[in-house]
């Protein structure tokens, strides 16, 4: 077996960029309340949070749970959000122009959006019942689970792989708050520098 991280018994650097379906698979999110809310027509869920907190991860997890839903995101090869209907998952909704957003909000039956600030008023004006989820990785236990899942996902074969001790998780929380993306960047460099299987240290 070959690979840049084979000496760590890893297929890849666990904290590199993942494909969306793998992000959904590894997400540590609770969607039962969200899914129950979206069961009714004209229901909207907004995931509110700053960059790197997990809004897109929540939407990808929702996408996996709702196979009939349309996922859209500007600047990608995803479809124009304004032309969608049914159940729509819209990432970075605050970057969509007001007119296109209004067209989408009129056409969608159910909606989940990722935003940096609350769109509750605008959604209610379009007749949606709104459920807001403030996205954060502030819970250390949830954060540790998320990061350890990433390492396990990168496992190459049976046997030991690098471990993420609690003190490293606490150090990450102290340095980066709840910015998961900044933590991933720091851990990427830490794993890249490792020459043998051991605890991941910053």
């Amino acid at each position: 077996m070959i690979g840049a991280y084979a000496h760590l018994n890893l297929r890849m650097n666990p904290f590199g960029e993942l494909e969306p379906r793998h992000r959904a698979q590894l997400a540590v999110v609770r969607l039962d309340t969200v899914l129950a809310h979206l069961d009714a027509p004209r229901a909207a869920v907004q995931f509110v949070g700053a960059c790197g907190r997990g809004k897109s991860t929540h939407l990808h997890a929702l996408r996996a749970a709702l196979p009939g839903a349309h996922y859209a995101r500007l600047w990608t090869d995803q479809p124009d959000p304004a032309g969608l209907s049914g159940t729509v998952l819209l990432d970075e909704a605050d970057a969509v122009g007001m007119i296109r957003r209004a067209r989408l909000f009129r056409a969608a039956e159910r909606l989940a959006i990722g935003v940096h600030r609350s769109f509750a008023t605008e959604l209610r004006l379009h007749g949606f019942r709104v459920h807001t989820v403030h996205v954060s990785a502030a819970d250390p236990a949830r954060l540790a689970t998320l990061l350890r899942r990433r390492i396990e996902f990168a496992r190459l074969a049976e046997g030991p792989i690098p471990t993420l001790p609690d003190h490293t998780v606490h150090a990450l929380r102290a340095r980066f708050g709840d910015d998961v993306r900044a933590m991933e960047d720091a851990l990427y460099d830490a794993v890249h520098a490792m020459r043998e299987v051991r605890d991941v240290a910053l």
Binding site: G3, N13, W75
Partner: protein
């Protein structure tokens, strides 16, 4: 527990493959629960891994089975692929170019079980593909101007402020819309001015240096090749310069995220600078020459969406109190034959 487990067994697993070689093996499926398999796919895949957005290209995607699997089934599906002509395997810091056999079961309403096996692809006789991207190799971060030019650039940045601030002060007097227009004008002026400066810089520099002709012996090179750079210029009058240099550099450039959330990361892999002229005067017909050798063990070029391993050659003349002449040429560097 998943409904079925997939594993890949390769023939001659550690051997590097050259274009035209075969990758052979078989996929084993152990079934725990009944599975409605919409397709067992075996894929020959080239992809990137690392800090940038993942790029992938499925060279061959074979569906070898569709139908029902029953608990207790142990099944074997052979595969055989021809290795195409590159890109070659690369392992760096921000970027990894990976070849693999990837298999997955398309199961309705669930995560698809999957497995993969990585193998190495090296160069054959012919020069291989350097990646699929049609876009130009990006320029690496270099000093686009000499440190001595910082005051000049700072002055160019301050001018829009001097123009815009009085407008803003007047407009702020109870007119927020005008204040917005003033601020927008300043920003547009600064951006357009900046673009115009970069676009016109070499023309302005050539007013002193005369036409500058930068010739490279080749822009497509193999590892180990020599690259000769010849620069000819003939200023009409003597020109004082602080120096002139040719800079060969290579690095990984990857981008993560999209839209407002895009971040570009850069990692320099090689940087070699040759000074072709010291501080002094240039007069009459002048020729400068620099010779580089693409070092053994250096990585080859690669370019796919959001993932690049770029080689560039930059020629720069530092002219006192005047915009520098800067010319950058992207290079295509091919891997060595092993």
């Amino acid at each position: 527990m998943s409904r079925c487990n997939l594993a890949i067994e390769m023939m001659d697993p550690g051997a590097p493959r050259r274009p035209g070689d075969q990758v052979q093996g078989f996929v084993t499926v152990d079934v725990d629960k009944s599975v409605n398999c919409r397709g067992l796919h075996i894929v020959l895949r080239c992809m990137t891994r690392g800090r940038g957005n993942t790029w992938r290209q499925d060279v061959v995607d074979q569906v070898v089975y569709e139908g029902e699997w029953k608990p207790g089934d142990n099944l074997v599906y052979p595969f055989e692929f021809d290795v195409p002509n590159g890109p070659v395997t690369y392992h760096g810091k921000l970027l990894n170019v990976v070849w693999q056999v990837y298999t997955y079961v398309d199961i309705p309403w669930g995560f698809d079980p999957e497995s993969e096996y990585e193998f190495e692809v090296v160069r054959g006789e012919a020069r291989p593909s350097l990646g699929p991207s049609q876009q130009a190799m990006p320029n690496l971060p270099i000093a686009i101007t000499s440190p001595s030019k910082v005051p000049l650039i700072a002055m160019l940045a301050i001018v829009p402020l001097f123009l815009g601030l009085p407008m803003a002060v007047v407009a702020l007097d109870g007119e927020p819309f005008l204040a917005f227009c003033a601020a927008a004008s300043v920003m547009v002026f600064a951006v357009v001015g900046g673009i115009a400066f970069v676009a016109m810089r070499n023309r302005i520099a050539e007013r002193k240096l005369g036409p500058v002709d930068v010739q490279l012996s080749a822009t497509e090179l193999d590892i180990g090749d020599e690259l000769t750079v010849t620069v000819r210029l003939s200023p009409e009058q003597a020109v004082a310069i602080r120096g002139a240099s040719v800079h060969l550099h290579a690095g990984e450039v990857v981008t993560r995220g999209s839209g407002t959330n895009r971040t570009t990361y850069r990692e320099e892999l090689l940087s070699e600078r040759i000074a072709v002229a010291e501080a002094g005067e240039v007069r009459g017909e002048t020729t400068w020459t620099a010779r580089f050798r693409i070092p053994e063990g250096a990585p080859s070029s690669f370019s796919a969406s959001d993932n690049h391993l770029a080689w560039n050659l930059t020629f720069q003349v530092d002219i006192p109190r005047w915009p520098d002449f800067v010319s950058t040429t992207p290079l295509s560097v091919f891997p060595a034959t092993r």
